[in-house]
């Protein structure tokens, strides 16, 4: 069994597998503090797929550098999961439906959520930007994040709040400015392709800080 960290099959074939019905470690599921990394976007639509590619690159890098165990998905997962030291990181890539993010962040074990996405923020293509959810809400960031039929992620999270689902975990967005001319195809624009590494490294630094904070909190609890 292997996990292929690529959203589309390579020339040699192969597919990411997530087997529903696998018992996994259900008993420890709720105790394991989970950090979500969500890569938004469509990998067939040029720069729109930058978030998905960044998510997969980060998953691959994290698995390689941390030496954490790679788990198979448990039916709800949209990508690989890694875990180590009582903290789990769940990577959800290629998400186009913001309701899927709402459902993912509502899981009781989820402590924080890092969203990676291509954005329209008035920057130069390939530049990265970081927002806390509350900053986006203040600016009415509609249209910045993944949208399905015009209902975007911020609206969906607000809907969840209004529907009594609570505010969910702390959410941080790392965005990369898309090139407006790169709308189609399986390749990123040169600028975004170059900027992707910065995005992945910045997200990795933040994720590492989160892991340290969760472990420290866990040690204090113990």
């Amino acid at each position: 069994m292997h996990i292929v960290l690529c959203p589309l099959p390579g020339r040699k074939g192969g597919a990411a597998l997530s087997l529903p019905g696998d018992p996994g470690s259900r008993a420890s599921e709720t105790k394991m503090k989970t950090l979500l990394v969500v890569g938004l976007g469509n990998v067939l639509r040029g720069d729109d797929g930058a978030g998905a590619y960044a998510c997969l690159a980060l998953a691959r890098r994290w698995a390689r550098r941390s030496g954490w165990a790679v788990r198979r998905g448990d039916g709800a997962a949209e990508g690989p999961e890694v875990e180590g030291g009582r903290v789990r990181v769940r990577f959800l890539e290629g998400i186009l439906d913001p309701f899927a993010v709402l459902e993912a962040v509502q899981a009781p074990e989820v402590r924080r959520c890092l969203v990676l996405d291509a954005v329209r923020a008035g920057l130069s293509p390939g530049e990265t930007v970081r927002w806390e959810l509350r900053e986006l809400e203040k600016e009415g960031g509609s249209g910045v994040l993944a949208s399905l039929h015009g209902v975007d992620l911020l609206q969906v999270l607000e809907l969840g709040r209004l529907a009594g689902l609570g505010r969910g975990p702390r959410l941080v967005v790392w965005g990369i400015q898309a090139d407006p001319g790169c709308l189609w195809g399986r390749r990123l624009s040169p600028s975004v392709g170059r900027g992707l590494r910065s995005l992945v490294l910045a997200a990795e630094r933040e994720l590492a800080e989160w892991v340290r904070a969760e472990r420290a909190a866990g040690a204090a609890d113990a």
Binding site: P7, L8, P9, G13, A15, A16, L17, S18, L19, P20, G21, N42, V43, L44, R45, G73, G75, A76, A77, E78, G94, I95, L96, D97, F99, A100, L102, E103, L148, H149, G150, V151, Q155, E158, L159, G160, L162, A163, G164, L165, L183, W184, G185, R186
Partner: protein, 467 residues
């Protein structure tokens, strides 16, 4: 010309001084996936011209597929759309299997049906509650609607039902958004007993939500579009409500199989749009989607669903495109029942397995494929209507040619025709109607089709020169 514009709605209104000429332009069609523009020119109380302009660039999905192996296609096409990945996946699998002469087991067929009805369930819930309801209740968006205390339970219901349906997709497909378990010839993994029992229990708890959805839709006042030349197209199956199988039929007698689809449906270019306009050969545009399905297959809905339609006073066939929301509500009921039926069937089959065998994996395991050159096509019913995939494979099993026509690509010409009739009728019947109201009602009509413009693959980069 004087001009006014609302930045919130993207509606521009231009008025010709003293000429009685007006132009209403909806620059951005809210709550429609992708982007589109609608320009309406009015002279006095007469509609002068109406152009639904799709300015989304062309999609190159078909090009992506050329050169890919037969067993990669379904994974790539599932990425076309965030709402209907299952439909593209299953249609591609069936077309490829047709090209390679692969037969699947009954278990595979029914698990694919379960995947598809779960997807239609969640797509219809999204449309009814999040996209259509704000129009009918007078809110600019679902968020504004949710801020209204009395409507909060409806939003909670929508989120509950959507989550339930997404979980079903994840149960069978392995992932809720881009399922991964369905492959050429079968499934790589199957749900376990405990998960199925849990899913069934959750489904059985929401009957009240389903009925509340039906009653909510029954309370809506629907506008009407009357067209003498209306034609509706859907799959028809002799034994069941069509999902992944059946033959194409129309309300005006057109008929085709997947193999003969191109002899019945043609595509034409129009100067004002990137979209190719689908037509029934020798006639004109047609409607696909839940309304066409219900109209052509009412007898194959369950007795309970037909009874619900009768109790609510809904008569089918109904050619009014605004009645699509009623068809969607009925299909939510149908899909809910069908998910329960299929999960119970699955439980029963698990119970019949020989001693020592604990999963259905053997029944759905993909069989060896004899790779060869071939051509195959498939037609399915996606949530938004008829979906067509066709592939020509070379001797090495790689795609040489792909042809995909999505439900929205089928519907675009009909939306344009409906709008022309609807707006002309509005102008004739109500001289007090403001331009903002015309724009809103036109948008409602477009939204009633639930178009997914960004996944309409038959969009061409057309340059038009005018002299």
């Amino acid at each position: 010309m004087s001009m006014g514009m609302s930045s919130e709605t993207g509606v521009r209104i231009e008025t010709g001084a003293g000429t009685g000429a007006r132009q209403v332009t909806v620059d951005y069609l809210a709550r429609v996936e992708g982007e589109g523009k609608l320009a309406i020119s009015i002279q006095g109380r007469k509609l002068e011209s109406l152009v639904l302009d799709i300015f989304e660039p062309p999609r190159f999905f078909q090009g992506f597929l050329v050169g890919r192996r037969y067993n990669e296609v379904h994974e790539i096409v599932s990425r076309i759309c965030g709402i209907c990945p299952v439909s593209h996946q299953i249609t591609a699998l069936q077309a490829i299997e047709s090209a390679l002469g692969v037969a699947v087991s009954e278990e595979t067929r029914l698990l694919r049906r379960l995947l598809a009805v779960a997807q239609t369930f969640q797509s219809h819930v999204l449309h009814v509650y999040m996209l259509a309801l704000p129009d009918y209740l007078g809110f600019p968006s679902v968020l504004e609607m949710a801020r209204e205390e009395s409507l909060r339970p409806a939003v909670e219901r929508a989120l509950r039902l959507k989550k339930l349906a997404n979980n079903l997709t994840a149960l069978v497909g392995g992932r809720a958004v881009h399922p991964v378990t369905a492959v050429v010839g079968g499934f790589t993994a199957v749900p376990g007993r405990a998960e199925v029992a849990q899913a069934l229990a959750r489904l059985e708890q929401v009957e009240d939500d389903i009925w509340k959805t039906l009653r909510l839709v029954a309370g809506l006042q629907l506008p009407r579009v009357e067209r003498a030349d209306a034609e509706q197209v859907a799959l028809v199956h002799p034994q069941e409500y069509p999902v992944n199988e059946g033959e194409l039929h129309s309300t005006r007698g057109a008929a085709a199989t997947a193999a003969t689809y191109r002899t019945v449906i043609e595509e034409r270019q129009v100067p004002h749009s990137f979209a190719l306009y689908s037509m029934v050969r020798g006639r004109g545009p047609f409607l696909v989607g839940p309304l066409a399905r219900v109209n052509l297959n009412f007898a194959h809905l369950t007795p309970e669903v037909r009874q619900a339609a009768e109790e609510l006073g809904w008569e089918f066939p109904d050619e009014n495109p605004f009645a699509s929301i009623r068809a969607r509500a009925l299909e939510i009921y149908y899909c809910w029942q069908e998910c329960i039926r299929l999960l119970r069937w699955y439980q029963q089959r698990l119970g019949e397995l020989p001693a020592g065998v604990t999963t259905m994996r053997e029944r759905v395991r993909p069989r060896p494929v004899n790779v060869r050159a071939g051509q195959g096509a498939a037609l399915t019913e996606a949530p938004r209507g008829l979906l067509y995939h066709s592939y020509r494979l070379g001797r090495d099993g790689r795609v040489e040619e792909a042809d995909i026509v999505s439900p929205t690509a089928h519907n675009v010409a009909n939306i344009q025709r409906d709008l022309e009739v609807f707006v002309a009728d509005l102008l004739e019947k109500d001289e007090e109607l403001t331009d903002e109201e015309i724009a809103l009602k036109s948008e409602m009509l477009v939204r009633s089709y639930d178009p997914c413009i960004s996944c309409s693959v038959h969009f061409l980069d057309v340059k038009v020169e005018r002299h």
